[in-house]
Each structure stands twice: as C-alpha cells, then as structure tokens.
C-alpha cells in the first residue's frame, strides 16, 4: 500500500505525541490533554461516531474517527456527562489494537493437535453438534458458558436465553464474578436492589472522597481527574485508605495504610466512633433502617463443592452498639496498624453533618474473602449518618469492566440470575419463561456453578463442554496452576471466542473469531447505571463475527431457531427491545433505543423520559412511594439494613515459611489480562512486562534492587520476575505487589482460590508468599 511521506510524517508526529502522553500519564495521576482531543487530530474526510469506551467501567463517551472504512482516531466526547471530553491513555489509543498482526480472522479447529483454518459456518456446526452430543450423553448440566463483563447487553442476553431458556441449565457464569460479585451481594443484602444509588455528578458536590483500597488514579483515571479538579477548585479532600502507596496516595490529601484484611475492623471502628460521639442521624436510622446479624466463621470456599447460606437474624440498635465495643479505635489500631488518630480523623468526616462525603471502592473491597461484609460495613457508615442517596453523599461501588453492570448484573449472566431477578424465585422464572416463550418448567430453580466452581468442575470432569466469550480465564482466574491443566484435559471440549489469541485460546478445541467493539453494534451499562449504545463503524477482517450472532447461529443449529428469530442486520435492536420488557416500571425502566442512539446514554430507572440520578430519594426517584423523604424499596418493608459483621482473618496469612503478603492488581497502561493493550505499541512500550514491587526496607534487607530477578513462591507454585523498588507503587513492609496483565509472567498461577462465601468472588489481594533474590 502506498503511504505518502506527508502522511508518514504526520503519523510519526502523532506517535511522538502519544509517546509523550503515555509518559506523562505514568508520572502524573489522572493527567489529561483535553484540548488535544479537540485539535491536532487527523483532518480530512473523517466521520466521527459516538460510542462508550471499550475498556473500564467508568464508561467514558468516545468519538471514533473513521476514514475509508478504517478507524483513524479516537477523542473524548465533549457531550458525554461522564468524561466531558476527557480520556485516559488507554481510551485514547484503543483502536490501535485493530492493527495487530496476529488478529484472529478465521475460525480455527484443532485437528490432530494442530489448528486448521475452517469456514465459520463449519466451525459453528461443530460447536452446536458437540453441545448437543454432550447434552445427549451426559445431561444438560455437562455444558457451560463463561462470558464477560465486557460482553455487550445483547451478547449476554442471548447467552442467558440459550443456556437457561433453551437448553435449561444454569451453567452460565461470567468473569464479572471475579470483580464485582461482592458489590452485588453487598447491595442486595443491605438494600435489596443492586447497583449504586448515586451517579458521577456526586463528584461535583462532595466535600470529601474516601477511597477504600481503590487506586483510582490508575484504574479510573478520568473520574480521579474530575475529583482532582474539585480538590483544586473547591478544596475537596481525598482520603486514600489502602494497603499500598500508589499514585492515588501521592495525589490525595491523606494516605492511611492498613494491614491486609483489617479494613473490616477499621470500618467497624468508624461506626463505633460515630455512635460514641453522638453523630448518628437518629431520625434517618429510626425511619429507614433495620439492624441484622448473620452467620460468622463461614469458611473461605477452599474446598471443592463448598456451600454456604447466610441466616440473617434481626437485632436492635443496643445489641449492635454492644457488638461494636470490640472495635474501639485503640483495639483496632492493634489489628490494623491504623493509628487511633487516623481512625478518629476518618470518623469525624463521616460524622460532620456539614460535610458531604462519597465512598468509592472497587477491587480492594470486592476481591476479599469477606467482600460482602466489607460492602455492608461501608453502607453501615453512610446509613448511620444518613449520608446516602443525595447529591455528594453516598457509597459508590465502581465497576472494573465496561458492562459489568449493564450485562453481567442487569441482564444477569450469573448462574443464579435471570434478566429480572433470580432463578430461585418462581415469579422471576415465570416472567422469563413468558418473555422467552419457553415452558416455565424448563428454567431450573437451583443455581449450579459460580466461576471458580465452574473451572473446578471442569477439572473434576463434570463439565464436558465449555464456551468462553470475551474473556481470558487462564490469565484472570485465581490458581490457574490448577485450572489450566484442568482445561487441557480431554474430558472437556473447549470453545473460545476472542479477538486475539490468548493463553485460554491456546487450550481450545475450537477458536471462534470475534468482532471487536466498533466492528459491531452494541450496548454497555456503566457504573452509574448508564446504558450506552453504539453503531457498527468498520468491517471486521476475514470471517470475524459478533459474539451475539455466533450464539444465535449455534442456537439455531441446535434446533432452537424459533426462540431466536432475530435478523443478522438488526439483531442488536431486536434483542434490546425484547430485553427491555424485563425491566418495565419505575424501579428499573430502561431508556428506549431511539433515546440511546440520540445521546450519550441514559441512567435507569428511565421514567417519563428522564434519567434517575439518585435512587431511593423521593426528591429524585419517582419509584419512592412511602410518602417519606427516602424509600429503600428493594426491601419489602422499605428499610435498608445495618449489618453486624465482625473482623475475621484471611484464610492464608504470612508465616515463617511464606512470610510476605502477595497482592495483585492492575496498571494504568493495560486493560486486565493485556490481550488488547499489549498489542497497542505505545502502551506495550510504556509497560512491557510485569514486575514485583517491594517495600524499600524489605528490598534493602534482601539486597534486592530494581531490575534484579526475584523468585516468588507460594503453596501453588513459583515464578521469577524483575523487582521494582521505589518506582510506581510502594507496598507496606512485608507485602509485595504484582500486576496480572502479563501472560508471560502468570502471577495467578500462585494466587489462592479462596472466595467470599456469600458472593463467591475470589480474593486476589491476600495470600502468603516467599520472596528470594535469584
């Protein structure tokens, strides 16, 4: 192809600029170059089309520039209230992964140990016949699908319809189980309704932001930038409460470090202080709250087939007050390492009736063996003080993935979920059966495998067929040292749909070539309940096909064509219109597609043509019907629950053999397992490989300096990687941190597959590790 020198120079200038932006992003948390996004982009006959960003759960609005059938640029959408034209370094570069040379363009079928390029129709025939054959031979619970918080709403919907409505198995779960299941169970146990009550506009009103184990500067940079703006403009305070000093800590007004797992104790200590100092909003609590306690010593899910069911029991305020006596700041200082002064400092902000305060969290609280409890405890603080469901006041769980809310939680791609409600509820099963036009009896009433247990079941040989879509479990699951050999076994036929080859597609029997984001139309739902639509902008290469359409084609081949009467051209619209029926009404009404096409999304409940920004507050939420200021209508009596939840230790704590804590997580340059961002040259160059961060004192004692090879050993395995000392982040002493994006250094081979017994979300933040210089 001919490229003029002018074009080449423009391209090089663009590359130089992008390199500088990436470098700036590594030095300044949340740095943005909004003006550049409006100017300096390629000129000419470029068509700009709106979409939500492909990456995180913030759901920034982007404008994708296309020219001659190719994506040539991305800029922030100034009309999007989410990001107001701003973008982070990943968002800005996203379409560059499309140029990767190893794109999966055709179906590949493994024959005699080698992958053979196969026409897509033939590959889908094979998938359908294998699925049918497995069901005939071993029963419907021998087949499974594992999807994603990055699946679009239509993709999640047809997967649920195929598995639960057509086949009749609840063997459907998704990778959102790994990132926000504890937030879901937290919301459900406290409020009886999932997803945050507030919205991003809270940032413009709050006086104080408390970040609970949440490195927003790297994981949610645009929202962090909006917070920094409020800090600079209005003097809003940012408190970073974490186990590691990060860029967020460096930009915060106050950094408070705690020992892993002890956040439970600190949250209770804050509640103790609120009550002791008379800061309880008594009228709010009396009108709108109940007090409950549940079972304790639940275990950690380490055994196969582990089961747990909580038994809530009502208590009164006095009993709760008595329970909190174990959590005086003095006692908690010993557990957590957080000083009495700092505990009182945080409590005083929550207790001050003149301060508006928002709590933000993400993986730190959710990937926690007591994740549901930890979510409950933060709600307790906001409920005791009545700082909830008002502009600038509220607890706000951020999601990791772009449609963890829209698809995983709202469509319900979990084993226990339906598009509305849960499989255990007869009324919910009847509604699903009616809309899906299937016999009610076909939808099983018992959940089967959550994510970790699903991969254990593959290892045990119970699941004989699995189809993964838009996810890379052999990098992202905990303890992949068990689940990789499990998936390699001949007992399970593995189908992987993806855009690029991954360690998961390496073990597949069939690889299906999926369309990327802008090569298909779709809808995502972000952290603030905002549903966003985009239109297909470019053609995908070869025989790449949208995941939703591949599911529909397989369903048709299995004999379920009458349940999937969608057309290839309009299936996104047809599916969304069908799906909307599940959520009709003031509590969860979804905006019509015409509205979503005309603007940068809408927040549900969408009632009488308007988004509902603050739920449960009668001033903003038309679903409130109790004639009071607030109505927590998710619960039958309209009251939220303040839970008595204790501190309990982590399942595997450091000891003499494995003396360090191992914490894992993400970096700003890479999206999760890196399958996309490691193919974007400027991002890959900025962060080419994983590393292990050590505290400088530990490094000095072990004679380790940056770049030295370090061996990490846990009870699951070992790995060698370069050290990082005093670089991007600094863990607390006797803790190490490793990012998980690098498929060449699979840290999850070493992590522990313990999980929260209520949410079943694994804890990637805490296990015991030995650290040695090689």
């Amino acid at each position: 192809m001919y490229t003029s020198l002018t074009d080449r120079r423009k391209f090089i200038k663009k590359m130089a600029m992008l390199s500088a932006m990436t470098a700036a992003a590594t030095m300044f948390p949340g740095i943005l170059f909004a003006d550049e996004q409006e100017e300096g982009l390629p000129s000419g006959d470029i068509k700009w089309t709106k979409a939500p960003c492909r990456f995180c759960g913030v759901g920034c609005g982007i404008l994708v520039g296309t020219e001659k059938g190719k994506a040539v640029a991305v800029k922030g959408d100034p009309k999007s209230s989410v990001n107001k034209g701003l973008l982070c370094v990943k968002g800005y570069h996203q379409t560059m992964c499309l140029q990767a040379k190893d794109r999966l363009t055709h179906a590949l079928v493994k024959k005699n140990g080698a992958y053979v390029k196969t026409p897509i129709g033939e590959a889908l025939d094979l998938v359908a016949s294998k699925m049918k054959e497995t069901i005939a031979k071993h029963g419907k619970d021998a087949v499974a699908m594992y999807t994603s918080g990055q699946s679009t709403i239509p993709e999640g919907y047809v997967a649920s319809k195929l598995m639960k409505g057509a086949i009749g198995t609840n063997n459907l779960d998704c990778n959102a189980r790994l990132c926000m299941a504890s937030a879901v169970t937290g919301f459900l146990t406290t409020f009886g309704a999932d997803e945050p009550m507030g919205c991003y506009e809270d940032i413009d009103h709050a006086d104080v932001f408390v970040l609970w184990g949440n490195n927003m500067a790297e994981m949610h940079p645009v929202l962090f930038s909006r917070m920094l703006e409020q800090k600079n403009r209005r003097g809003a305070k940012i408190i970073d409460f974490a186990t590691r000093t990060t860029r967020t800590s460096m930009a915060a007004d106050k950094s408070i470090l705690f020992k892993p797992q002890s956040d439970l104790a600190v949250a209770n200590a804050i509640c103790y202080e609120i009550i002791k100092n008379g800061w309880v909003n008594t009228s709010f609590v009396e009108k709108h709250c109940n007090f409950n306690k549940g079972l304790t010593n639940m275990g950690y899910g380490l055994e196969d087939n582990y089961k747990f069911k909580d038994k809530p029991e009502k208590i009164n305020f006095e009993a709760y007050k008595e329970f909190l006596k174990d959590y005086t700041p003095e006692k908690v200082e010993k557990i957590s390492g957080v000083s009495v002064k700092d505990i009182k400092y945080m409590a005083a902000y929550f207790g001050d009736p003149n301060k508006k305060i928002v709590s933000y969290w993400c993986m730190g609280m959710n990937q926690h063996t007591r994740g549901t409890w930890m979510n409950n405890l933060v709600y307790n603080i906001h409920l005791l003080t009545g700082k909830i469901s008002q502009p600038g006041n509220g607890p706000f769980s951020l999601t990791g993935q772009p449609s963890a809310c829209g698809t995983a939680r709202e469509v319900g791609t979990f084993t226990h979920k339906l598009p509305k409600g849960v499989v255990m509820n007869e009324k919910h099963r009847r509604l699903a059966a009616k809309i899906w036009k299937v016999p009610y009896e076909r939808i099983p009433s018992k959940p089967t495998y959550h994510a970790t247990e699903m991969f254990r079941a593959i290892d045990r040989g119970e699941i004989k067929f699995i189809w993964t879509q838009v996810t890379n479990p052999l990098v992202s699951l905990p303890k992949t040292s068990r689940y990789r050999p499990g998936m390699e076994k001949d007992s399970c036929f593995v189908v992987v749909s993806d855009v690029f080859p991954t360690p998961t597609s390496d073990v597949a029997d069939v690889i299906l070539p999926a369309s990327w984001h802008i090569e298909k139309s779709g809808l995502y739902g972000n952290s603030e309940r905002r549903t966003q639509h985009w239109d297909k902008m470019v053609e995908g290469p070869g025989e790449t096909t949208p995941d939703a359409w591949m599911t529909i084609e397989v369903a048709k081949r299995m004999g379920f064509g009458d349940l999937f009467p969608y057309t290839e051209e309009n299936h996104v619209e047809e599916i969304y219109n069908e799906y909307r029926q599940f959520h009709q009404g003031a509590k969860h009404g979804m905006a019509p597609l015409e509205v979503l096409k005309s603007q940068s999304g809408a927040i549900w409940p969408f009632v009488d043509g308007k988004s509902t920004q603050w739920r449960f507050n009668a001033k903003y939420d038309p679903a409130c019907s109790n004639e009071e200021d607030f109505h927590f209508y998710g619960k039958p009596d309209g009251r939220a629950v303040i839970w008595q939840r204790p501190y309990e230790p982590a399942p595997e704590e450091p000891d003499s053999e494995y003396p360090f804590w191992l914490n894992t997580g993400r970096v700003v340059e890479h999206w999760h397992t890196g399958s996309m961002t490691r193919r974007i040259p400027v991002l890959h160059k900025a962060m080419p490989r994983a590393y292990v961060e050590l505290h400088p004192k530990d490094a000095k004692r072990l004679k380790i300096k940056t770049g030295d090879k370090v061996k990490l050993t846990t009870r699951r395995g070992e790995i060698i990687m370069p050290a990082s000392v005093n670089q991007r982040g600094i863990p607390t002493p006797m803790q190490v941190f490793v990012p998980f994006f690098d498929e060449n250094m699979l840290i999850n081979d070493l992590t522990l597959d313990s999980f929260c017994p209520i949410s079943k979300e694994p804890d990637y933040k805490k296990c015991a590790v030995r650290v040695e210089k090689v």
Binding site: R9, M15, A16, M17, S19, F28, G40, S225, L228
Partner: protein
C-alpha cells in the same frame, strides 16, 4: 528530518507564559495538559543542526524549568 517529543515542565505559575513562548517557535507544536502543570512539546526540524539551534532557544526560555525527551524519530523530508 528529526521529530521529537518532550515533556516540558514550567516554573511554578508559568505554564501560560511557557505555552506562549513555545507557540511562537515555528518548529514547535504544544499540547498543554488540562489539569497539570505540564506541556507536551513536539518539535519538527529539517536538520540536526537546525534542531540544535532550536534546542538552544528552548534552553534559554525563562519559564521552562525542565525539558525531558520522550521519543525521537528521524524521517525523510517530503
């Protein structure tokens, strides 16, 4: 035909002054950060000699605290 990108750190409170000073230099393209005291500077010169002269001009700017090179490319002139 060298093309280079830099992070330009201004002295405290001098971001706008630095922005103006760089904008008038023909071989410079400047992108200010929306929310930090930092500018991205892209330079495009015809020869390495011209580039050295430009570098001297940049070093003489009073509002400039630090200029950190990020990337450098050399391409043909069209």
């Amino acid at each position: 035909m060298p093309i280079k990108s830099y992070l330009a750190h201004p002295h405290k409170g001098k971001k706008n002054e630095l922005m103006e000073a760089l904008s008038v230099l023909e071989q410079c393209e400047v992108i200010p950060s929306h929310n930090e005291e930092l500018l991205i500077l892209i330079t495009e010169t015809d020869t390495t000699t011209e580039e050295e002269i430009l570098k001297e001009k940049l070093d003489a700017l009073e509002s400039l605290k630090l200029l950190a090179l990020v990337s450098g490319f050399n391409t043909q002139k069209n």
